[in-house]
Structures are given as C-alpha cells and as structure tokens.
C-alpha cells in the first residue's frame, strides 16, 4: 500500500552530502519537505505506539499518534493488540478523546457511531435511518494499521503493508536494544504516566540529539552536572573506548565504563542494584554489553523514539508541523526490580530528565532556536557542519552496525540522515540499501549472542 502526494518529485540528495559531512538547513523548517516526511517516512516506517505494559488487560487502550495521524492502541479479549485510526469513518471525528483507560466501546460524539475495541462498527444512534444497502457494517469500522509488531515489550505499528518484518526493520540494532529491553529475566515495563510537552522545534533535532550527540552534554548541561556533582563539570570522555554504532538510521552512542549514566541518575541505590546484577547481565548478554549498559550513552530508534539506557527515560518526538513537536516521556524499568528500586528510578528520572529536571531544562530552547534561526531566508541556504569524527570508522569484532570510535562524533547523526534520505528517495523498500549489510540477519534471538566474534 502506498500513500503518495501528487506532483512532487524533488531531488532530496541536494539537501545533504554525508560523505563531506554537511546538511542543508531547509530540512528543519520547509513545509513541503515536512509534508513529504509524513508521507514517505511516517506513513511507511514501523513506529513505536506503546509498551505492552501500558495496556495489560482486555479493553485497556491508549491514544497516540503515528506521524500526525491519531490512533488508538487497544488490547483485545484474545490478548493481541490492535492499532487503528482514531477517526470515525462517517465524518472523521475522533472517537476517543481520553489519553488512556479501559472500555468496551469507542463512541463518536457526533452521531453516536459505536465501535468495539477491535474497531468493528457495532451500531449507531437511530440506526433505522439507514435503509438496507446504505451501509455495510463490515467495511465501516475504524481503519486498522497494516501491521502490528512487538519487540520485547515495545509495540510498533506501520501503515505500510510492504514494510519488512519488525525484526528485519530493527535488524542488527536488536543486539543493542537487548541492553535496555532484556538485561534481566522478565523484561521491562513503563511505570507512572506520560508527561507531554510541546516544543517549537523540528522533530529531527530531538532524535539526532539522542542518537549521537554526547558532545552537547558537557556544555549544554554544565549547570545541571555541576549542581548534581558537587560543583564539578562533566568528566572528559574516553575517546578510545567509546563508540557510535548505526544500523539503518537507528543509533546508539556509548562508553564502556559502565557507570556514567547511572551516576548522572543521581540515585546510589539504583547504581548498587545494577552492580549487583551485572555479573548475571554478563552471562545473559555477554561481557561487552554488560560493560556498555550504565555507561554514558543515548540512543534513538528510527524515526522518532529515543531513550537513555541507565537513566531510564524513554521518549517519543511526535511531529506537529515543520517547526513543532510534542515530546512524550515515560519511565522504563525492569519488571523484576524490587518496588523500592523502581521508585528510586522514577525519582531519578523526574529529577534529571523530567520537565523540572536538572538536565531536561537545558535542551528544549537549543532545539527551538536552531529551528527558528535556521528558517531565516538567507540563513536557510547556508550549510550545517556534520563532519565531526568523519575519519574514525572502524571494524570491530564485537560490535554490529556501522561503528565509529569516539563518543564525541557526528557519525550516528550522519547515519540517521542517510536513512532519512534513503526513505525520501526510494519508492520501494526492497530497493533501499541496507546500511550496513545485516550481519545478524539469520540470528533469531540476539540475547544469546555476545557479539560478532561469536558468529
């Protein structure tokens, strides 16, 4: 299935040269480019819609967006999860205005059309006004998405019936995702609620910040680091033992010192907890991944999900026009953690990366000002510099993906924009290049795989 805009075939490759390391600023504010992103990226990608723990019981639902399309994510009586447009097929009104809850029916406010949690049309107000042959109930339910998938608790959906499987979409990045989703028996859950804030910036600035921009932390967050660290600034990074890894536009930047993000969380009990389970984590995921977890690190899943492993903030950047996004944040914890450790994690996240947190308060205005300033009519024609560490690509015998040495690097950002360009350019998924060629393509379960050397 393809959703296409009519009459626009621009050459997007003119907006960047990633071998040289520059981007054209227009991709951060141009309305036509943004509209095309909704068609070519958001209507075709696998998009995160929920953590399965948010809707544990039959009838549980939440509302969210896939791109700018409003959707309902609902748990079915048989335990499966369905994702459908939150829009009545009669006149298009939303059928659910709640953020979350439990229900048997979604009823449109306009004419009382009623749908069950699978989206099937069950009836409407004054049903007698429809004569035989006026309406086929079967074909007038809430439109379901093409595919729903679940990777270790994270539920994704896509409108694109031609999309590869979720496993293939995440590909070798699963090896990295296991560090946050599968570092302990029992997997993960979201706890507490969802905090939403509106930020007047282009959505890509949020994603690229988390995908690779460790570099900003020491400067942007200087005040926060000093206030949490007895006046001391952010410590220097070990450029020899830290990395960027990029897989088809997903990316993880990380150290291997094991404690940096856990320290920044500011909750010693959580640090103790992970140090206690670290030997088990090493048995489970291999030595390398047990050393990466907890280090200074950040990651994004293409196109618009990010998280901080170790700090446990999980977030989505929902596009709301070229110069605005809605930031949704949650707290992710291991399901088998004792309750007091879960509480400690939520406190830590609130105090660091909540809207009143010591780090979160610094980021938004940078992205907002990058967006508005880049829009200047002369300014927008200037290039932006994305060349940091461009010569530091390495082959690594443990780490999958396109790997660069040195955590201060633009490599993952370049990988993200390369994937952006691939999706904006190619009509067919099959013709899109894999970056890199999958190395774990035949691996069913990546938890038991310590690294590439094990192949």
């Amino acid at each position: 299935m393809r959703f296409e805009r009519i009459g626009r075939e621009p050459d997007y490759s003119r907006y960047m040269d990633l071998k040289e390391g520059w981007l054209d600023r227009r991709i951060f504010s141009d309305a036509d480019i943004y509209e095309e992103e909704l068609y070519r990226i958001f209507a075709r990608s696998w998009l995160f819609v929920a953590h399965e723990s948010q809707i544990p019981n039959s009838g549980d639902f939440l509302t969210t967006h896939m791109g700018e399309d409003a959707v309902i994510v609902a748990r079915q009586p048989d335990g499966s999860i369905r994702v459908m447009l939150n829009s009545c097929p009669h006149r298009g009104n939303k059928v659910c205005f709640a953020d979350a809850g439990n229900t048997r029916r979604f009823v449109c406010n306009y004419h009382g059309w009623a749908f069950d949690t699978a989206g099937d049309l069950k009836g409407m107000h004054e049903e007698y006004c429809y004569d035989a042959g006026d309406i086929d109930f079967k074909n007038h339910g809430l439109k379901n998405v093409a595919k729903v998938g679940n990777y270790k608790g994270l539920v994704f959906a896509t409108f694109n019936s031609d999309a590869p499987s979720l496993e293939a979409w995440l590909g070798d990045f699963r090896w990295y995702l296991d560090m946050i989703l599968d570092n302990e028996e029992g997997g993960t859950e979201f706890i507490g609620g969802c905090i939403k804030s509106v930020i007047s910036a282009n959505w890509k600035f949020g994603v690229e910040n988390f995908i690779g921009d460790a570099y900003h932390a020491g400067w942007t967050h200087d005040s926060g680091t000093r206030s949490m660290n007895n006046g001391q600034p952010f410590p220097p990074i070990d450029m020899d033992n830290s990395y960027h890894a990029s897989v088809n536009g997903h990316g993880w930047e990380f150290g291997t010192e094991g404690v940096g993000d856990l320290f920044l969380l500011g909750r010693p009990k959580v640090m103790d907890y992970y140090n206690k389970i670290r030997p088990k984590m090493a048995e489970r995921l291999g030595e390398m991944r047990s050393k990466i977890f907890g280090s200074v690190a950040s990651a994004s899943i293409f196109p618009n999900v990010s998280f901080l492993p170790g700090i446990s903030t999980f977030r989505q950047w929902q596009p709301k026009g070229p110069m605005q996004f809605e930031l949704k944040t949650w707290v992710i914890v291991n399901k088998n953690m004792p309750d007091d450790i879960k509480e400690e994690v939520t406190k830590g996240v609130m105090q660091t990366f909540g809207p009143g947190g010591t780090f979160e308060m610094d980021d938004g205005e940078n992205w907002e000002n990058c967006t508005t300033v880049n829009r200047g009519v002369v300014t927008r024609h200037e290039r932006l510099h994305y060349r940091c560490g461009i010569g530091r690509q390495i082959e690594h015998d443990t780490l999958p993906g396109i790997v660069y040495r040195g955590q201060y690097n633009d490599a993952n950002q370049r990988g993200f924009y390369q994937r952006w360009l691939d999706m904006m350019t190619h009509d067919e998924f099959g013709k899109m290049p894999a970056r890199p060629e999958p190395q774990l393509g035949n691996v069913g379960e990546t938890r038991d795989l310590p690294g590439l050397f094990a192949l």
Partner: protein, 175 residues
C-alpha cells in the same frame, strides 16, 4: 467523628498569609532565590501533579507505582535547582527571561493545628523568553503555611497545572 467546622482564621492571619503569597511572587519575579528559599519550611514538600485525560466514567485505578507527579521536591532538591540557576551556566536564562506572576483567588482556611493554615490560590505566570516567545501558564495551588516565630513559612505546596500538554519546553521557573 465529631468534626465541627473550624472557625475562620483571624483577619490578621489572613492578611499576613496573603501578603506572604504576594511577597513570594515578587521575590521569584526578581530572581531573589535565596530570599525565596528563606520562606520555605525545613520539611517543605513541593509537588506538581501529573495529569492524564480520562473519561469521567473510567474507574481505572491510579498508577500503582511511579511518581504521579512531574516533580516532587524537598528543600535539598529545591536548593539544588536554585544552585543550578545561580551557577552562571544556565544558557537558557541568560540574558534573563521576563517572568511575572499574578496571585489570585486566595482563600485562607483554618486547620486543626493552631499555627498552620491551608491556602488555596491561583497563579498566572507570564514568561517572555530570551528569544522573545511568550508563554502564559496557569496553575491552581493548595498550600500549607506554618507560623514560625514572626514569619509564615511554606510547608507544602501541591500545584495543579491547567495544561494537559505542557506548553513550554522547560519548567525552569518556580510556581
């Protein structure tokens, strides 16, 4: 329980507490953060509730775990936030934002304790930021104020922000 309605607090108390609210707003507007910290009790609790839009008929229990709040600060945390703002490294506040708070709908109610009053108020906060954008935030507040010596100190504040989506990229300012 043999609860009798409590008599309203004396007019002098109502005036003193109302003046304390106005003074607090002025200190914060003028970035006299040490002056503000001095108005807080040692055991102060300062919370902003996290809201979620639910159907009125929805009987789902509240979140079993997790904060249910956007922040939940004690005096140590508030001092840390003030230290951060005073560090000279908060680029988003330099040059300073223009912030003006208006306190309204003040109701001072007696409690069982002689030296404590419950105070409802409404706060409107205008923020004009370094890039010129303006945000208007409104919140309801339920406080506990305690008389210690000659001063009234803030012992607890529950803030309810009237926005299901925070209309700003940060909450640097105090409510």
């Amino acid at each position: 329980m043999l609860d009798r309605p409590l008599a309203p607090p004396p007019v002098e108390v109502i005036v003193a507490v109302t003046q304390a609210l106005h003074r607090e707003a002025r200190l914060l507007d003028n970035e006299d953060l040490d002056g503000w910290l001095a108005m807080l009790g040692k055991d102060v609790s300062y919370r902003l509730e996290l809201k979620s839009r639910r159907f009125r008929a929805d009987r789902s229990p509240p979140f079993p775990l997790g904060p249910g709040v956007i922040f939940n600060e004690d005096l140590g945390r508030l001092k840390m936030r003030v230290d951060r703002l005073k560090s000279g490294f908060v680029w988003a506040e330099d040059p300073p934002n223009y912030i003006r708070r208006a306190v309204s709908n003040v109701e001072v109610l007696a409690t069982r304790a002689d030296n404590e009053v419950r105070v409802h108020s409404v706060l409107g906060m205008h923020r004009n930021r370094i890039d010129g954008t303006t945000r208007l935030l409104t919140a309801g507040r339920t406080d506990l104020w305690r008389s210690e010596g000659s001063a009234w100190l803030l012992a607890a504040r529950e803030i309810v922000l009237d926005h299901s989506v925070l209309p700003d990229s940060n909450l640097n300012a105090f409510f």
